[in-house]
């Protein structure tokens, strides 16, 4: 157990460092930054702009900036936004809650819907419930989120007047965006669930169990689901990474606050400290999720534990 903890800590550090380095390199290949744009728009002279850049330390050589950033990171300092001049940690902190809420609710929808559709499709291949489930999951896979979102606002908010379309804060405000984002993600979960379940269903030991005359319900719960869960879990965990991208669009559509909006805004405005801060956050979230997934994997599938993967 101590080995496990040490390994995970090391790999978290490695992931954060790798992401920051990747982001730092990429962002500095791209020319320009927020300051130049904002100041030029306001009417600044080149000298003013240079002075401002120097005040922020942007005139120093890249390796110096990199080391300074990493040193700050070790102290928990993510730097300051070029535009609002606020600490990046504050900016992220303000937006984090809303996105976590949206992502958690959407994931819930996605897992419930995805597993449901996948199981239905696998259990009733060829029959109408299976076909219906298959069609729904393909629709989820093939409809862009901005289209579903606008359609949902049009139907449920503008037309039926059931739910608010804009803003965040209450549970009412969460239902539509979470449903839209969850539906978007449920498609891949459903498809993979179906495939894995069918694979397992036809595996030799399941055939043996059937031949032994074990009841179908029992086989499904004890053998099939149990054997299918690890790969399904991997797929679900991977979806969490995609939620942020979906959240960016969902937040824009439903006028919600959140990290996705912050990220897209910061990329377009070239507010790089904010972008780097979100990269760090994302790396930490990912590491946490993979620790949880690994533990769950170990519980679900003893083979993985033995091999120390």
């Amino acid at each position: 157990m101590r080995h496990f903890a040490r390994d995970r800590l090391l790999s978290t550090l490695l992931i954060v460092w790798g992401c920051v380095t990747l982001a730092f390199a990429a962002l500095h290949i791209i020319p320009g930054n927020a300051i130049v744009g904002q100041m030029l728009q306001g009417g600044a002279t080149q000298a003013d702009i240079a002075a401002r850049q120097a005040a922020l330390g942007l005139d120093r050589p890249l390796p110096v900036q990199y080391v300074t950033y990493l040193a700050g990171l070790l102290r928990g300092d993510l730097g300051y936004s070029y535009i609002s001049q606020l600490p990046v940690s504050t900016l992220i902190g303000e937006q984090l809650g809303a996105t976590v809420m949206l992502a958690a609710a959407a994931l819930l929808v996605a897992v419930a819907l995805g597993l449901g559709l996948g199981i239905l499709e696998a259990a009733h291949t060829g029959a109408w419930p299976g076909r219906l489930a298959g069609t729904i999951s393909v629709l989820a896979l093939s409809t862009p989120i901005y289209w579903t979102g606008t359609a949902a606002i049009f139907i449920f908010s503008s037309w039926l007047g059931l739910l608010p379309a804009t803003g965040s804060g209450s549970i009412d405000h969460l239902i539509l965006p979470a449903a839209v984002l969850g539906f978007h993600v449920s498609g891949s979960i459903a498809r993979v669930t179906r495939t894995i379940l069918t694979e397992v269903m036809y595996a030799d030991y399941i055939r043996v169990a059937r031949a032994k005359g074990l009841p179908g319900q029992y086989i499904f719960r004890v053998h099939i689901l149990r054997a299918s869960l690890p790969p399904i879990l991997t797929v679900v965990a991977l979806q969490i990474g995609f939620l942020l991208g979906g959240a960016a669009i969902t937040e824009a559509l439903f006028a919600r606050q959140g990290i996705g909006q912050l990220l897209v805004g910061a990329v377009i405005d070239q507010d790089y400290p904010v972008v780097l801060g979100i990269v760090v956050l994302s790396a930490l979230v990912y590491s946490t999720i993979s620790v949880v997934t690994d533990i769950l994997h170990g519980i679900l599938d003893p083979r993985v534990r033995e091999n120390g993967a």
């Binding site: 320009g32 001049q85 503008s158 379309a165």
Partner: protein, 558 residues
């Protein structure tokens, strides 16, 4: 499945527990105002966004105001002002009866503190600092008299001082918070107080009951709105939907096609507001082939059916633009109106005069080898023929143009209509869309474009200096003309209004004579509001609502 339901229940309980309730305690009636984008910073002294002024215009007062109807300067925090004959010094007599929202007394020291804050480089002002132009310093003559001194005359100063970016903030609040945190705790003297700002979510204002020093066009309505919550509706189709469902009572920048529908709804009202400044325009690159030729640029103007663009993309909600300034701008020169009206024959003859005499199998015009492209007339740009593809030597030079557009303001749609129109007379237009202002500027710096869309709002024509003076930061036409430079620079220095009129008239004429830009439509902000909202009016800059006048008729109980 049962576990999932249980999880959902727990989650919803958690959510219900953390619903914010700050806005619910505020006085009624309350409205929600939809903003069309989320500014990354909300400090008017620091940030440059136009959107921030929509709420903050009413949190602050300015030394002077501009009457939205006449454009005249009227007293604000200053009751009167004297300008010396040399235009170098402005003396303002201040009101004595004004208190900031935090109870601090307004006086000359407060004005001085604000100017200090804007001027010091540490503040990192992105706009306000430059609106003060050649300000050299100030003198406090007594508690209620302040004199601003300039190093050279600066005609736009009063216009600058009438804008929210130079709004006067409470010195106590400025001392209490730093440059980063002040935006959350803004304190002015205006008709509304700031309650809270939650980035990305909302900004809430509540009416200042003590406000009694507004300009003459601030009129108290019968049922004054007491609380206003601003939300950020960045996705255009959502705006009209939110208005219809009653989630917002007023919203700006509605899509023209939605505005068309709203105008048929008796419960809603449409407020199209012309925005002074530059129209939607494409700057033409005079240092890149083939737009380095006057004839080609003029041909492009003639070849563009702007009325059709206004019909298709803007549903006729905007007038066609003909010059570098829209008619609601000061010193707009009406002689440029109707210049370069749609005329295909004229466009074709200009193009063949420029050497594009033949058409290839794709229907694209080209200049065959051996034909000289007429040299650019004296005083014009440096032609950059090295940009011409080498293959041109054998096959001729096709008429290919590149246009760079930002994603906002339906500019991509306009570009596509132009693309289709130009294709019909054999011009091949490639459109390149970029993601934002920085990316637009970077594209401009590469110089690899023939047309690029860019415009600024503003009532004072001095904004042209940023675009058409030889070394200006936004001189994306690449055009250099000592006379035009002189018109524009002198225009900012000259305080005599008739002289300014003549200079800007000459500048507008020159810009259009040389066909430096392709103006498309005058900017009109399509605001939609519920019919219950009374007193909807906008200030002289067009963007900013006069929230003081807003009233909400009680709902009809029958």
């Amino acid at each position: 499945m049962r576990y999932l339901v249980a999880c959902a229940l727990i989650l919803s309980l958690l959510l219900a527990a953390c619903v914010p309730s700050s806005a619910s305690k505020l006085p009624e009636p309350r409205i929600v105002y939809g903003l069309s984008l989320m500014p990354s910073g909300f400090d008017p002294h620091i940030n440059a966004s136009a959107e921030l002024g929509i709420p903050l215009r009413s949190v602050y007062d300015t030394l002077v105001y501009r009457d939205p109807a006449t454009g005249d300067y009227v007293p604000g925090l200053a009751t009167e002002w004297q300008i010396t004959a040399d235009g170098l010094s402005y003396t303002f007599t201040l009101r004595r009866d004004v208190k900031f929202h935090d109870g601090t007394q307004f006086n000359a020291d407060a004005v001085g503190t604000n100017i200090d804050r804007i001027m010091v480089p540490e503040t990192g002002s992105q706009k306000a600092r430059f609106m003060l132009g050649p300000l050299a310093g100030y003198e406090i003559l007594d508690n209620y008299t302040i004199r601003l001194n300039l190093s050279q005359p600066y005609a736009p100063l009063l216009d600058s001082l009438s804008q929210v970016y130079l709004g006067i903030a409470s010195p106590r609040a400025l001392a209490e918070y730093d440059n980063a945190t002040y935006q959350f705790h803004q304190v002015g003297t205006g008709p509304y107080k700031m309650v809270e700002y939650v980035p990305g979510n909302r900004l809430v204002l509540t009416r200042n009951p003590d406000y009694a020093w507004g300009p003459p066009f601030y009129v108290m309505p019968a049922n004054p709105v007491q609380t206003i919550e601003f939300r950020f509706l960045e996705d255009p189709p959502t705006r009209a939907l939110a208005l219809e469902s009653g989630e917002v009572q007023i919203v700006g920048e509605i899509l023209p096609v939605d505005a068309q529908l709203l105008s048929g709804n008796p419960g809603l009202r449409l407020y199209p507001v012309p925005i002074p400044g530059q129209p939607l325009q494409f700057m033409m690159n005079t240092s890149r082939f083939p737009t380095d030729s006057d004839a080609v640029r003029q041909a492009l103007l003639f070849a563009t059916n702007r009325a059709a663009i206004v019909d298709t993309v803007f549903q006729q909600f905007s007038p066609v633009a003909y010059g570098p300034l829209s008619p609601s701008t000061d010193y707009y020169y009406d002689q440029v109106a109707n210049s370069y009206s749609y005329n295909i024959e004229q466009a074709q003859s200009l193009l063949s005069a420029a050497g594009f005499t033949q058409t290839n199998s794709n229907g694209i015009l080209f200049a065959p080898t051996g034909l000289d492209i007429p040299p650019t007339p004296v005083g014009g740009s440096v032609g950059d023929l090295t940009a011409t593809p080498a293959a041109a030597q054998i096959t001729g030079i096709p008429l290919e143009l590149t246009m760079v557009v930002p994603p906002w303001g339906l500019v991509p749609q306009v570009a596509q209509v132009i693309q289709s129109q130009w294709r019909e007379i054999g011009i091949d237009l490639k459109i390149e869309q970029v993601a934002g202002l920085n990316q637009l500027r970077e594209a401009a710096e590469t110089g690899r474009y023939n047309l690029i869309a860019m415009n600024s709002p503003g009532r004072d024509p001095s904004l042209l200096e940023q675009y058409f003076v030889t070394n200006a930061p936004f001189n994306w036409t690449g055009y250099s003309d000592l006379e035009l430079d002189a018109y524009l620079q002198e225009g900012s220095r000259q305080i005599d209004s008739q002289m300014r009129g003549a200079l800007y008239g000459a500048a507008q004429t020159r810009i259009m004579e040389r066909a430096l830009i392709l103006p498309v439509r005058d900017y009109v902000n399509l605001n939609g509001a519920t019919a219950r909202l009374e007193g909807v009016a906008f200030d002289a800059q067009g963007w900013f609502p006069i929230l003081y006048n807003f009233g909400l008729t009680p709902e009809d109980r029958n």
